[in-house]
Amino acid sequence: MRLFFLVFVFFLISEATAGESLKLVNINGKIYDESTREPLTGATIVLEGTSHYAIAGLDGSFTIRGIPQGEYRVEISFISYKNRKEEVSLSESKELSFGLKPEAMNLGAVVVSTTRLRNTEASARAKERNALNTVNAISASAIELSPDLTVANVVQRVSGLTTERGSSGDAQYAIVRGMDKRYNYTLVNGIKIPSPDNENRFVPLDIFPAELLDRLVVSKSLTPSMEGDAIGGVVDMEMRSAHSRKIVSANFSAGYGELFFNRDFDSFDYGAVNKTPPMQRLENGDPVAGSMDYYSSGNFNYTKETPTPDHNASLALGDRYFNERLGVILAATYQRSSRGTDRTQFRISENRGPENLPYISSYQERRYSTAQNRIGIHNKIDYVINPGHTISLYNVWLNLQRNQTRVVWEDGLRGINEPTLENNFRSQINIQRIFNSTLQGKHRLLPNLEADWSLVYSLANQNVPDNSQLITVSNYETPGRELRWLIHENQIRIWEENADRDYAVYYNLTYHPFANNEAFQVKTGGLYRTKSRENHFDLYTFKPQPGIQEYVPYETNYANLNWRITGGAGTPTHALNYQSHENIFAQYLEIKFPWQGFNFLGGIRTEHTDQGFSTANNLVEDGAQTYWSFLPSVHLKYQLTANSHVRTSYFKSVSRPGFLEIIPYTRPSTEDIYVSGGNPTLRPVVAHNFDLRYELFPNTTDQILLGAFYKNIYDPIELAVMTQTDPNFQPHFPSNTTVITPVNFEMAVNMGLEADVIKYFNRFGIRGNYTFTSSDIESIKRTWTEITQENYHQLTTLQQQNLSIGDSTFLNVTQMRPLQGQSRHLGNLSFLYKDLRNGFDAQLSAVYTGERIAVVSTGFETDWWQKSFIQLDFSAEKRILEKFVVFAKINNIINTPYKLFIKKPHYPSSRIEAMQPNSREETLVREEFYGRTFLFGIKYNL
């Protein structure tokens, strides 16, 4: 880390020592967009006939030093702007600023908006400044410089956002202002996309390569024209589109993960995995897949490898044709990486006995090796029919395949001389895909009336074929009680697949009542979307044949083991075999007008939801929920000075239950001690959201944002443990059982403060943000409690027969806690250095995530907290030839561990204590390391 600071300091010093001589003059100033006043970072100013030139810095500023006095002709140019030439007389040092005009397609009187650049930082600031709701934006040019490869990495740079990681160690989901992933939605070019998740509606963000973006916009407040089902926020990915210049860009990079310097990469025969479930491959009229011929054995052929280096490649081509009427862009990206996670974990049993402490029942070391292939292809074709009418077709296809091998060593902590050991392996291929195709039209029907529409088809699916586990266990029954390893009695292989199909129509009408004042606007429109979702879950069970099979310890090819099928017909009645539909019909009316320094935007949106399901289990009744949501919102912006304003907003929003949550299924207890089940009476969560933000834009690139928010969340959905005496106990739950199920809690409050600062000094930039959030929710927990008059009513009839006041039993108590995923303190700090003349950029980024609840437990005060952590990433690039740039990205520089713990001690046990560093106060549950990753590459830009 010290090294990187040294690099910074070095460049700082070399900059400061540039000298000045007599009889020579300097010019400095700014280059900006004439209409928007945005600084044009990277624009060049050249004194014709000389070697003097400069490139505008991050804030648009430039300086040319040491020019002999005289008359000059300067040429100012920038991509997709018209060149400008000026005569200047330099007898002394001067300050000169130049505005450039966009190289717009002037088809008649109307400037077509497609030429507008969205991928610059200035455009991101303009978006934040000009929007009437609360937004944060990050541009492609910022992303390009950053260490980030996927959109999930990018979102954590936005103020108030953190991410949740998957088992490969990659960030996957966004948590917005402490609101869990279920409270946010994801858009591509303003169109909502479905999720490849098998139970929920949230979209994993690591499937999106960051390179495909023009800009990432996070809206934290909703206007009537936006879909109303976000309480945290909305992540909108504005994808690359064709500009007025030809685009040819390509890059290639390669890298390595540090973890694999120290250990092998575990792999299996990926090609052996059959992607179709056996029951769909039946031959010769077999009623069931009862022969081992249906099951490949290569899944268990494990090898230890040195992973191929990570490599990424991308290509983007774009141009406009036919007098710039037709724009085409095609971009593709491929990322291949080998990721590893080394994890230590303890199995925790819930609170036990009179002391109400958790109990550690096993210790595991897990090693994950994941080969990831990420492919993204997108294209956009837009055609300007005439100035008033444009039509565009957008397609994106994303594919993320993870081939993961998991190796686990478990110690059942049952004895020292003959420990209960397990060594198990899991071979898993997970393929997620998202496809979206949107046909869009924009029409100026009258000089002051515009219409636009979108026809959308989206498909999201996930396929996890032949997810196979192999468990081996320790045995000491040999003479001399030596350790030998035997194959465990039960083996399972699961084929799981789900797909979400959306068809949607969006339509908007925008009317400007005053011909010359665009600030007045009446907008109406809506959407109709019909979704169908299908889930398949097929599990097959096997036993070793013969039952006792020994294997050679540590050998890794188990492909030659013999198995016998005990369940060869799959599991058509499993709860995860279901179909869901969701039809959303929404209408809104939105008005916008200025009044004495105020800008008002407000209106109402109504959404009708029809969400239903049917399952393949005839014991589970089909069902549906239909309801209306009325969602008013008001956004006020008050201009304090020319470059500062205050905005405030109120909006009401909802969050709908997940697809599986409302299905009245039950599943037996597995590792938990409770039966689990769905809850068809779940209602959508409703929230009233208030925002206040002060914004100061000292110039077009710098900003200071200070904000506060307050959310009243009604009916938040959380998991709870229920018994028959609870009002939420569902009729389909088996009587006299304790069930864990999602329920609507009464209310939660989430509030916070945000500060966001961006400051550029020509070559230097600092971006920082800090968010404080505080939330409270009253949750139901289970604990060993003495029976009193007050809690006697919680006892079931049977309990009342058997227990009396003064006895103790497990009862529900309430516990206040923050929302899951919400950290009190969040921070981001990035240092940027940009030397355009030498073509050198560097960025050091730190993310601080304060402690937060990662897993809500059923026991009193035994929630799993994630320790606060700082992640540090670095990236740098250097132009080597006119059109080539080399770059480096180093992620996770300080190898930050991911740690989960319980804020309570556990029942002590001396062997565990050595592994529990702070056992008097807390219980370590999990600790994992990912190692640093290094990436080096080259980029080409026409």
């Binding site: 069931v288 029954e477 009695e489 005990t566 058509p572 009645t573 037996p668 001690i673 049977l798 039993t809």
Partner: protein
Amino acid sequence: MRKLEKKMKSIGTFSLAIIFSLAFMACEKDDDNGPDNGDNGDNGNGETLSGEISGTLEKGTYIISGDLLIPEGEELILEPGVILAFDGDGLSPETSPEIQLFGNLVAIGTPEEPIMFTVVEERRDPSNAYEGLWGGIQAMSSCEHLILKHTIIEYSGGPARQSEAYDAGDPRYTIHFANPEGVLVFKNSIMRNLADDGIRPQGGGQMAIVNNIFYNIGETGGEGINIKDGSVGVVAYNLFYAMATNGSKPAGEGDGVPQTDIDTYNNTFINNGFRRAQSGRGGSINYEQGAKGQIFNNLIVNCRFGIRMRGDRLPDMDNIEYDYTHYYAYDETDQENFWPTTDVDDDGNPLTYEKPGDIIQMDPLFVNYDVNTDKMTAIPDESWNFHLTEDSPGLTAGSTDFEPVISSLSAGGVSISIPGPSAFIGAYGTE
């Protein structure tokens, strides 16, 4: 106590030979000499049944082609000599039918004409022991009573459908019971050749599991009786021969009420625990997870472990009493495992929480069973006799100085008396 004991002895002596003859009647296909093998032209001979059913089934063989469902509030009565032959292959829930017991079932056979829950005749072979060809008796929480007396249950344990008791694909327990207010009686019966647990009261119940023979249960895992939360009752006078894991394992998993309270006395455990691949778990009697009860007069021969009182959560040690256990093992390793002191947990405690009474190690002197028989033997021979000879050290070594938690049960118009403890060790005294 005296009276009880006397009554008991008569029951204890009752029927070993008979039971074994019955057992082998069903086991060996060629044996036509059994008192009844369903081929005698009785009612329902070969009739095919599936779907909803209640009322009375008369003596005869019935082919069960699909799930039998006894609706809530209704009752199915099986008369002596009924043979339910399930037509199943054990490869899917659909092709391994079960009895779905929302209502009640009463099956009371006679020693001469037991009631059989088995598979179709051509698959009734011990080589299919672990195939789980049919689905067992799945009693739901609405079932008030399940009474099985003089019955034989075999070849069950096929994969399950999704429900609150099973995830789809799990092996089914042969008798699953889930009503803490319900009554479960399993008496004078044989349970054998099963793929997984024999009796699993998972949601509680009041139960009498007495005078039975359990053998060859679970291929590489599975208990004869695996008792979970909210169960109260007696496990007595049973022979557990060749269970994959334990003979009987009461636990109080979950937090249901009442507390699991099972008295385990006068049982004989032989060859249990050796088919489980992983070391370190039970092989005869295992109390864990907050369960309580009285454990007396048991005979444990050639089992992988002695009485074990441990678990992720300890049993209710303050309310467990145990003593008068006799052990025998020909293998030195197994002798050490009566109370495995060689292996200790990280606090230096032996694997089994407390010493399970005095470790008395001696040959019980069975009437006709060689205690050096290979401990992997899974199916007992017809000629064996587990009564004690007059010279047996266990003959008067037991205690009768305790009261079982329940002494009788009545439900469905049937009254079941539960035999109290005997002064001998094991399930059978002298002949």
